[in-house]
């Protein structure tokens, strides 16, 4: 079934299918139901990295030197881990500025410089040509080989056939038409190609499926698994060294390292990778999945490379078959026609995917960053006055696509034969690696300037052309071979393959070392000795600080006068009237207005909006030119830009300070509130105290007054009665005096003005004194007192009189609550933990738990004070506790209702230095 017409038909059917997918995806996008808004589609579209190079070339490389093909896929795995930091920043910047291509990104960073954009475009186009020629070579070779079936014949040498019989030319033209249909059917203001991305994702699946299918067939169909292939290979003396190949065949570890670095840069700076990863990205959160799915894809498509390579070498000994074609020729040799067709389609997938995206990306760059800036500056063309330029833009892009593919074909004719697939591709990798310094530098280094970027790019590209492009042309016979052998004009030091005598490295490593040295060196040196313009300074800040600035801050930098109709006119010319209207409606909607609305004025915001929209269609450099022509601008000076930037950072600093201050203020307020509440509480307590004390004072006063009045009004009163009344008056007076004394006492203690006569005090002595003083009362009440006093207790530091006051208070309390005649009081003194402890236990009614909690407070007494007022002032316990605590001790009560109460206090032994002092 591998007749020629079947193959041709299958090829066109496959391309038709791709087109159908793209068409469907575009339709869905127009309806707002995007099929590519998925991290999985995004990851698959990144796999456009795997081209015909991967599909055919990896096996070719592996057949020559074992693992040498792997750094190309390990590099992206390492790089994508850094994407979380680098790519997110690029995505933010690109979305805010509607970046349309890699050239646009770099030009925009360096002051929207059309010159930088142009240089990047030229480097990209020239650098990518070998890569495109590789795809043409792979497709035309695979087509030619399949057409020869069942024979396995290698294609004729390039150039042996006349141009118009050359399959590669036809492949190039067909692909050009196909790409034009794909990428430039209409002009999208945001450069989104949803259909293309959907088709690319589908192609990634097809090429993976085809490659895995042939891998499984070779490994398990022709051989009996991995072990079988490798054990046969190790038995073959020609293949055995390739099982541990790093020192021998693959050259050195140096080339391994450089290939890794090269591919790390390629995954970011190949124009097609930038296109799918940045321009076509719909949501930066897709990175979450892509970070592991894309490397997994790379791993999967490489698992079978080595078995196929060894299988091929074992199957076709003697080198009669080009190892780059093993993937196709192995199934053919085994007469697996269907599989061969699948492989052919898989290869076609890989090549077309690359060519489509790469040429679309390059054509955008050529149009926006090379042709348009020149055309717009040519006043003779009066381009800026034409009503509709969208057709012109499309024509330029279509022309660029055809031109790029024909140039790719030209390179294929000129130099395609001298190298294997992988080596051709690496030349392109080395070219795009030249963008790395200016992009990474541009993202993180504020002081990099436009001239620095130009110097770096030109120096790096120059060295690249000299050490890689020139030798490729020389080897193909287009330049004299003596150039490589003896250097230009016989100067050995300038030999392109051993510059300044650096030899012993492979060609790519050699070129990378010198070109990177020149590139980075020139970039840094020129940037440092240069001072940026206002525009550069502003763009640098917008790029480097993208995460720190909310929204695109571009509008702040514009000053001038403009009119809405003028700008609308400009927009309509480049986007088309409908798209321009749509954009302006969007602008109005975002500000809560209708379009048109005379309240929308051409302020800085509006001008910025128009410029960004234009940038989406024609690139930032061209957009700058157009807007500058349409409005009257006052250029900002560098100082003014600096001022605006400083203001912005000042505002940030101020707002930080403000936050700090308000936090401090809040804390202070909270403190004040607490203090205020304490004050209120104290105030309330004081009120309570006043009302209580007034009440306490009035009770005795009332009875004194009542009895005095009786005595005064009734002179005939009996002497016995009189004596009784006078006694009451005296007792009440005593009670008043006691109360007033205690209140004064308390006031002194609480205000800290009390006189303390501090001395060494023997607690045992005091207890004995107190008991003696109370003996009369005990007798009177019929209370039995037992004591348990140790022989000796170390002295404590306290005020003797005050301590006696405490003991008397506790003892009289105990007596008060004892039942007359049956009372028992135990007084004990002990020493523990460096404290002297006194317990006074009675057998009274006991104190409830609720009362225990409050009896030490002022005027709080146990029992119901409303019905049965207990004797005493209600201040004694409070004062006692104050005294004990003043000397560092503690006072508490333990009691159960019906089982008496035990008041205890402790005093530390010898803690306060001896001697009288005022506290």
């Amino acid at each position: 079934m591998l007749q020629g017409w079947v193959v041709v038909l299958a090829s066109f059917a496959y391309l038709g299918l791709l087109f159908a997918i793209a068409y469907y995806a575009d339709q869905r996008a127009d309806q707002g139901r995007s099929v590519i808004a998925s991290p999985y589609v995004y990851s698959l579209s990144l796999a456009v990295y795997a081209t015909a190079w991967t599909f055919y070339g990896s096996v070719g490389r592996a057949a020559a030197d074992g693992v040498g093909f792997l750094p190309i896929y390990i590099g992206p795995t390492l790089m994508i881990a850094l994407w979380w930091i680098v790519m997110r920043k690029i995505l933010r910047i690109s979305k805010a500025n509607r970046i349309t291509s890699l050239a646009d990104f770099i030009a925009s960073r360096y002051g929207k410089s059309a010159l930088v954009g142009g240089v990047v475009t030229i480097i990209a186009v020239i650098g990518i040509l070998p890569y495109i020629s590789l795809q043409l070579k792979a497709v035309s070779n695979s087509f030619t080989i399949v057409m020869q079936y069942p024979e396995i014949v290698m294609p004729a040498k390039v150039g042996a056939l006349p141009v118009f019989q050359d399959t590669a030319l036809w492949v190039a033209l067909i692909l050009a038409v196909f790409t034009i249909l794909f990428g430039t059917r209409h002009l999208d203001a945001a450069e989104h190609h949803e259909g293309m991305v959907a088709a690319i994702a589908f192609e990634s699946l097809v090429k993976l499926l085809a490659f895995v299918a042939v891998g499984v067939f070779v490994t398990f169909g022709i051989y009996r698994g991995f072990g079988d292939v490798f054990s046969r290979a190790s038995a073959d003396p020609a293949l055995a060294p390739m099982l541990s190949p790093l020192e021998g065949v693959a050259g050195s570890y140096a080339s391994w390292v450089w290939l890794t670095i090269l591919s790390m840069l390629a995954i970011m700076f190949l124009p097609r990778q930038f296109q799918v990863a940045v321009i076509e990205n719909k949501d930066e959160r897709y990175l979450d999945k892509a970070i592991w799915i894309f490397p997994l894809y790379m791993l999967a498509i490489n698992v079978f490379v080595l078995p196929i390579a060894f299988g091929g070498r074992l199957h076709f000994p003697g080198g009669s078959v080009d190892a780059d074609t093993y993937v196709l020729t192995l199934p053919m040799a085994e007469h697996q026609e269907l599989l061969a067709l699948l492989v052919y389609i898989g290869g076609l997938s890989a090549a077309t995917g690359m060519v489509i995206v790469e040429t679309i990306a390059l054509s955008t760059m050529v149009c926006n960053d090379l042709v348009m800036p020149v055309l717009l500056r040519l006043k003779r063309l009066r381009l800026a006055e034409r009503p509709d330029l969208t057709r012109l833009l499309l024509a330029i892009r279509r022309g660029a696509i055809v031109l790029i593919l024909l140039l790719g074909y030209l390179y294929f004719r000129l130099a395609g034969e001298a190298y294997a697939l992988v080596s051709i591709g690496l030349i392109s990798f080395a070219a795009v690696a030249q963008f790395a310094p200016v992009v990474f530098g541009g993202l993180f280094w504020r002081n990099a300037t436009r001239r620095g970027a130009l110097a770096g790019l030109l120096a790096g590209f120059g060295v690249w052309a000299y050490t890689l492009l020139l030798p490729a042309l020389a080897r193909s016979g287009w330049l004299p071979g003596s150039l490589l052998e003896h250097g230009p004009f016989g100067i050995e030091l300038l030999k392109p393959l051993a510059l300044f005598g650096l030899s012993g490295l492979d060609q790519i490593t050699h070129a990378m070392i010198w070109s990177m040295a020149a590139n980075v060196g020139a970039y840094i040196a020129v940037s440092l000795s240069d001072s940026p313009s206002a525009e550069e300074h502003r763009q640098a800040s917008l790029f480097v600080d993208v995460f720190r600035r909310a929204g695109g801050g571009g509008a702040r930098f514009w000053r001038g006068t403009a009119s809405v109709p003028d700008l609308q006119h400009v927009l309509a010319r480049f986007l088309g009237a409908t798209a321009a209207d749509e954009a302006l409606r969007e602008y109005a909607r975002a500000r809560g207005r209708q379009w048109p609305d005379e309240r929308i004025v051409a302020d800085a915001d509006f001008v910025h909006f128009v410029e960004v929209q234009l940038g989406g269609a024609i690139g930032s450099a061209s957009a700058r030119i157009m807007v500058a022509q349409a409005v009257k601008e006052d250029a900002l000076t560098l100082d003014e830009v600096r001022e605006i930037l400083d203001e912005a950072s000042q505002v940030v600093v101020y707002s930080h300070r403000l936050e700090q201050k308000s936090r401090e203020l809040e804390a202070a307020t909270a403190e004040l509130r607490t203090a205020n509440e304490q004050l209120k509480e104290l105030d309330r307590l004081k009120d309570d105290f006043m009302s209580t004390i007034t009440h306490e004072l009035r009770t005795p006063l009332t009875s004194i007054r009542a009895f005095s009045e009786i005595l005064l009004s009734d002179p005939m009163i009996e002497p016995a009665q009189r004596t009784k009344f006078v006694t009451i008056i005296m007792k009440e007076t005593e009670r008043l005096t006691r109360l007033i004394n205690q209140v004064l006492d308390l006031a002194k203690i609480e205000s800290g003005r009390a006189d303390w006569r501090v001395a060494r005090v023997d607690v045992k002595e005091i207890v004995a004194d107190a008991l003696a003083g109370m003996a009369a009362v005990f007798d009177e009440k019929g209370v039995t007192v037992t004591t348990s006093l140790p022989d000796h207790v170390p002295p404590v530091t306290a005020d003797l009189d005050r301590l006696i006051q405490v003991l008397l208070n506790l003892l009289s309390n105990a007596v008060k609550f004892c039942e007359p005649g049956r009372g028992r009081i135990d007084v004990s003194l002990s020493e523990s933990d460096g404290h002297a402890r006194v317990d006074i236990r009675d057998n009274g009614p006991g104190i409830s738990l609720a009362d225990q909690a409050v009896i030490f407070e002022k005027f709080r007494q146990a029992g119901d004070t409303m019905t049965a007022k207990p004797p005493g002032t209600g201040l004694g316990l409070h004062i006692s506790r104050q005294i004990v605590e003043h000397f560092g001790g503690r006072m508490w009560v333990e009691s159960r209702i019906g089982h008496g109460a035990c008041f205890s206090f402790t005093l530390p032994i010898e803690t306060v230095p001896v001697g009288a002092h005022r506290a």
Binding site: T77, L243, L246
Partner: protein
């Protein structure tokens, strides 16, 4: 980077780990003419380490969420 909960740092660490894993001298340790389960030691090492690295990356981005 802003608000990524250390994800970026972990990924950078993995990138550096990977760079060491797939370079001299670690690579030289496995560059021996031996077969491991029928597969050349160097190839087995590279693919196993590669798969492990991808698994770790998936874990880092997966665990931190978005």
């Amino acid at each position: 980077m802003e608000g990524d909960g250390g994800k970026g740092q972990r990924l950078v660490a993995l990138c550096m780990l990977g760079f060491l894993t797939f370079n001299y001298p670690v690579l030289a340790l496995f560059n021996k003419p031996l077969l491991f389960l029928g597969i050349p030691l160097l190839y087995a090492y590279i693919f196993a380490a590669w798969a492990l690295l991808i698994a770790l990356m998936a874990r880092v981005v997966g665990r931190a969420g978005s």
